[in-house]
């Protein structure tokens, strides 16, 4: 029984980590209607920032590396915005091709600098231990990831639904021209969304680094999982992204426990089942 409970908590940690990694992708798609296939690369970039700062520099820990990774993520996002800007009015295929191209270039550059090995930066010392949990011992860091994921999810919803910034973003979802017509510089908002979404991706890369390991291939793996998450949840819906991520987290960890041979299939099986019954995803708007 406790096996299942641990698997559940593992799945929860995985799901919330995935939400952190996928939320930016969903936000970009929802607010800007941009498909950013370089999102996974930014997650990996955040991971490499953590690896580099904790291993080679002056004994920095993961916590000190985090703000730097956020800034790096925001800068990458801003640069990406200017690169994608000419394609904002084009369809998703064009945007996808461009951003996928950037992802490939990033992967090649990353291989030059960091090679193909797997890095696992340690969690911060005070979190690098196990605690008693329901009659067993459980890595504290994973529980912290659960907590951070919950905080991020709540923060995103509060900002989106309860603040003026959120109102501006929701307005931009429905009619960008009218947002401009009430005086806002829409390019600034769009650039800000790119920066914020990318900083969130980098954050996911940093906090996930001790758990999933930073390596070439994490970018595409994350991208595919994040795409599955937002397709299950409904494109552009943050609530959907959260539910989708929690579901994928459970399916993945339970799948490995129960049906190890079929675990890769299970994920896409679940997605297929969701799409059969809800073609627009769990919380998606009907496709127009």
């Amino acid at each position: 029984m406790s096996d299942y409970l641990f698997t559940f908590v593992n799945g929860l940690a995985r799901g919330l980590l995935l939400f952190t990694m996928a939320a930016g992708l969903s936000l970009l798609f929802g607010v800007m209607r941009v498909l950013n296939l370089a999102h996974g690369a930014i997650v990996l970039a955040g991971g490499y920032v953590a690896v580099t700062l904790t291993a080679r520099a002056t004994g920095m820990g993961l916590i000190e590396a985090l703000p730097i990774a956020l800034v790096v993520g925001a800068l990458i996002g801003t640069a990406l915005y200017f690169a994608v800007k000419p394609l904002l009015h084009r369809d998703h295929l064009d945007q996808g091709l461009l951003t996928l191209g950037f992802a490939f270039i990033f992967a090649d550059i990353a291989e030059l600098f960091w090679g193909t090995q797997v890095y696992s930066p340690p969690p911060p010392d005070f979190l690098n231990r196990s605690i008693e949990l329901l009659g067993g011992s459980y890595p504290l860091y994973r529980l912290v990831v659960v907590g951070v994921g919950i905080v991020i999810a709540v923060a995103i919803f509060v900002v989106f639904e309860r603040t003026r910034l959120g109102a501006i973003l929701r307005a931009a979802v429905s009619d960008r021209e009218m947002v401009a017509a009430v005086g806002f510089r829409v390019p600034l908002i769009m650039g800000g969304v790119f920066a914020g979404a990318s900083a969130l991706a980098a954050l996911g890369g940093v906090i996930g680094a001790p758990i999933v390991g930073v390596r070439l291939g994490l970018d595409t793996e994350t991208l595919i999982l994040a795409l599955v998450v937002i397709v299950i949840g409904g494109l552009g819906s943050l609530k959907g992204a959260l539910i989708g991520a929690l579901l994928v987290g459970q399916v993945q960890t339970l799948g490995i426990l129960l049906l190890p041979q079929a675990s890769a299939f299970l994920l896409f099986g679940v997605m297929a089942i969701v799409l059969i019954f809800k073609p627009a995803g769990l919380f998606g708007e009907t496709v127009k």
């Binding site: 003026r164 109102a167 929701r170 009619d175 401009a180 017509a181 009430v182 005086g183």
Partner: protein, 234 residues
């Protein structure tokens, strides 16, 4: 009389079609001007060009003497132009209050949230409601309130009565009369001639991309042949 809006020889081409063919028009300080014309003669396109939603091909327009030709939408908005667009274009996922305060700016004009709620009491009752769930008439009032809180130098009203029930059009007329008596400068495009005539000081008629008639509202009212000739109304 000083002009809030001066449009000089404005042209607009979209692909092969020449939609606006040299429009000159002015709106004076505190004046309400109605722009009539049949469907497809370029009235809404002209409104869009003024707001920056489409770019004019040639010519210029000035708001209180400031040349805004070719400027981006937000720049034009900050210069003091506000629009109640055709089709309302409200933000469905925002509440009434969020919509109204979104672009609120303090400027001469003195429109505050309280004053807008006084003018449009139904919005005050529903301030927490999502605008997407409201009726067409209520959404139109939200669109008007949104524009008023910009405290614009000139308000563009693009077919505000379109798609509204007659009773609501009556309410709309009262709201617009209140705006006018408050001294707001208005340029209105309307298919409902009565609504436009009741509001305006001056009438313009547009046909095939040009202004073909201009007169004080009284002259338009007294001479039905004007409407007959240009608008095909008996």
């Amino acid at each position: 009389m000083s002009y809030v809006l001066e449009v000089r020889d404005l042209h607009l081409r979209l692909g092969a079609s020449h939609i606006i063919k040299g429009v000159d028009l002015t709106v004076g300080e505190g004046e309400a001007v109605a722009l009539f014309g049949r469907n497809g003669v370029g009235k809404s396109t002209l409104m869009h060009a003024l707001m920056g939603l489409v770019r004019a091909s040639a010519g210029s327009f000035l708001l209180s003497g400031e040349d805004l030709t070719g400027k981006p939408i937000d720049r034009i908005a900050r210069a003091g132009l506000a629009i109640v667009p055709q089709g309302r274009r409200i933000f469905p996922t925002l509440t009434v209050q969020e919509t109204l305060t979104l672009g609120a700016r303090k400027a001469a004009g003195g429109w505050t949230l309280e004053r807008v709620y006084d003018l449009l009491p139904r919005l005050a009752e529903r301030r927490k409601q999502h605008v997407g769930l409201m009726s067409g008439g209520e959404q139109q009032m939200v669109a008007i309130g949104r524009a008023l809180l910009r405290n614009p130098k000139l308000l563009l009203l693009d077919e505000p009565s379109e798609g509204l029930a007659p009773r609501i059009v009556g309410e709309l007329g009262e709201v617009m009369a209140a705006l006018r008596s408050d001294g707001l400068s208005i340029l209105i495009v309307e298919q409902n001639l009565e609504l436009g005539v009741n509001l305006a000081d001056r009438v313009l008629i547009m046909d095939m991309g040009r202004i073909v008639h201009e007169s004080p509202v009284q002259e338009f009212r007294d001479d039905p042949s004007i409407a007959h000739r240009h608008l095909g109304i008996l």
